[in-house]
Amino acid sequence: MTRIWSWIALTFGLIYFALPLIGTVEFSLRMRRGEYSFDAYRKVLADPRFQETFSYSVVMALATIVFGVLLVVPTAYWVRLKLPRLRPYVEFLTLMPLVIPPIVIVFGYLRLYNTSSWLPLTGTTMGTNLLLMFGYATLSLPYMYRAVDTGLRSIDVGTLTEAAQSLGAGWVTILARVILPNVLVAVLSGAFLTFAIVIGEFVLAALLNRPAFGPYLQLMGANRAYEPAALAVIAFAITWACMGLIQLVSRFTRHGRTA
């Protein structure tokens, strides 16, 4: 009995996820009347604005990941090592971006950092990019922090730190050579989620008026028929490629987990 039910559940799930995907793929191939073709993809990929916005978002995503790792790994490490009693509060704090809508965050940013404020970040393109990156880092904070904290749980942070200290290592060395390599897989899964969030993000980029992929997707969706479907499929493929990469990396860095 339970067997049958689990099969039904599985089938239902598969249909639930696969049908829209199949539908989208099918639709994206129908640009030429009466036959399947890759015309929509060709058009999308040839669009200079696609290339611009996509590479902009990729660069922003990478910057966000680097910033997020530099912020979250030392913080989560320090909280685990020295302030274990604060851990629930810090964790709660990192969950805030999930309950505060991005639009609130961005209006807060605009109030604090507008051109007539004490730190006029929005006055320059670079400043706005920086602000956008901080925004992205905030949005991905819950995922990054959880991933890293889970990674830290799987190693004995305190003793490894002391072992490294007794061998002469300072904090930077400990973080770079002991802590980070041991939570790398966790960091990567956080990085992947960050990447996915940044690539698809609309509100922050639109309101800060930066040429990101999210607003471009929205623009295409509002004005074209077949191209958005092709874009969606491309975005989906990128996501799956990321996941495959994570699997690969975690396979190569498995040592220690089982010890």
């Binding site: 072992a163 007794s166 061998l167 002469g168 220690g256 089982t258 010890a259």
Partner: protein, 351 residues
């Protein structure tokens, strides 16, 4: 002036004081054990030497230099942990090389030192393995090599063998001692296993409730315990009540029999201690005091048979060696046992 000097060290966690006025002078190359029951402050004291805890008061000097203000990574003290604490992302070779790399040693030196260390711990072929591919005993040996590779001034070990099974424990403790002697490194070894402490150490510090009850060689600790706690904690001990008849010569009435301890005793009742191996079944040369009684318990342990006999209201445990010629006495059998009165320890009142 000794090499490692700990003076009047104290440590409190909030209102609770866990180490009281701890002083110890360790000579260069000496092997010292901290021995004591769980929670007596061994680890805390060791961690203050390593720099992981800040003393509430007191001084720690190495080679005449006060190190209390130095951070752990500036102290040049090697540490081996109960949980091995090998870096899981590094191979055995990289683990051993870690400290040298941090210190910026040349590649040639690192390679030579790693090879030398792995040779020393008897694992020359395992440089490329990861820690999770090693047994517990192997991991702990690698941890030892890692700690020693940087040639620290002092080596600290916190119950390094207690996660291992009994056989490995015995062989590894001999190995650790041999390496320590060969390198002549000043060592502090924390354990709650008295056999370990007795067999490895130059001197033992018996700790009790945050104090050093006694510091001495294994022979001194075992044969002339300074406090009631030391007497009871190290080795098996019989305690018997005796009445002092003549305080000057130490004549006592013990289980209905007179014995002369040959040293001054306080008047009245005393508690006397006696190791099981100081009592023999039947008459024995040099053991002039003979007591009669009845066997109440027989424990056949193989090489040794542990007996308990009731003698004039006192129960004494003692050992005899197994022989195939003669079966051990049975429970209820009448026996006589002999002991030498000068082997009796006077146990002070409870602290």
């Amino acid at each position: 002036m000794s090499f490692l000097n700990i003076s009047n060290l104290e440590k409190s966690f909030g209102p609770t004081r866990v180490v009281h006025d701890f002083s110890l002078a360790v000579e260069q190359g000496e092997f010292i054990s901290f021995l004591g029951p769980s929670g007596c402050g061994k680890t805390t004291t060791l961690r203050m030497v390593a720099g992981f805890e800040t003393p509430t008061a007191g001084r720690i000097e190495i080679d005449g230099r006060d190190i209390v203000r130095l951070r752990p990574n500036q102290r040049n003290i090697g540490m081996v942990f109960q949980s091995y604490a090998l870096f899981p992302n590094l191979t055995v070779g990289q683990n051993v090389a870690f400290g040298l790399k941090v210190a910026g040693a040349s590649r040639a030196l690192i390679r030579a030192r790693v090879a030398e260390m792995l040779e020393m711990i008897g694992l020359p072929d395992l440089a490329g393995r990861y820690p999770f591919q090693l047994s517990g005993g192997q991991q702990q040996r690698v941890a030892l090599a890692r700690a020693l590779a940087v040639r620290p001034q002092v080596l600290l070990l916190d119950e390094p063998l207690s996660a291992l099974d009994a056989k490995i424990r015995v062989s590894l403790r001999a190995e650790i001692r041999a390496i320590q002697k060969k390198l002549g490194i000043t060592t502090i070894y924390v354990t709650h296993d008295q056999e370990e402490a007795l067999s490895m150490s130059d001197r033992i510090v018996v700790m009790h409730q945050g104090r050093a009850d006694q510091v001495g060689t294994p022979f001194q600790i075992y044969n002339t315990p300074a406090t009631r706690f030391v007497a009871g904690f190290v080795g098996a001990l019989n305690t018997v009540q005796a009445e002092v008849i003549d305080p000057g010569t130490g004549r006592v009435l013990l289980a209905g029999t007179e014995a002369v301890l040959d040293r001054a005793l306080p008047a009245g009742q005393v508690t006397l201690g006696l190791r099981p191996e100081m009592v023999s079944l039947g008459p024995a040369p040099g053991r002039e005091t003979v007591l009669r009684g009845r066997v109440v318990e027989v424990d056949f342990l193989g090489a040794v048979i542990r007996l308990k006999a009731e003698l004039g209201g006192e129960v004494l445990a003692f050992d005899t060696f197994n022989t195939s010629q003669k079966a051990p006495p049975r429970v209820g059998e009448e026996v006589s046992v002999s002991l030498a009165a000068r082997d009796l320890l006077v146990i002070g009142p409870p602290a």
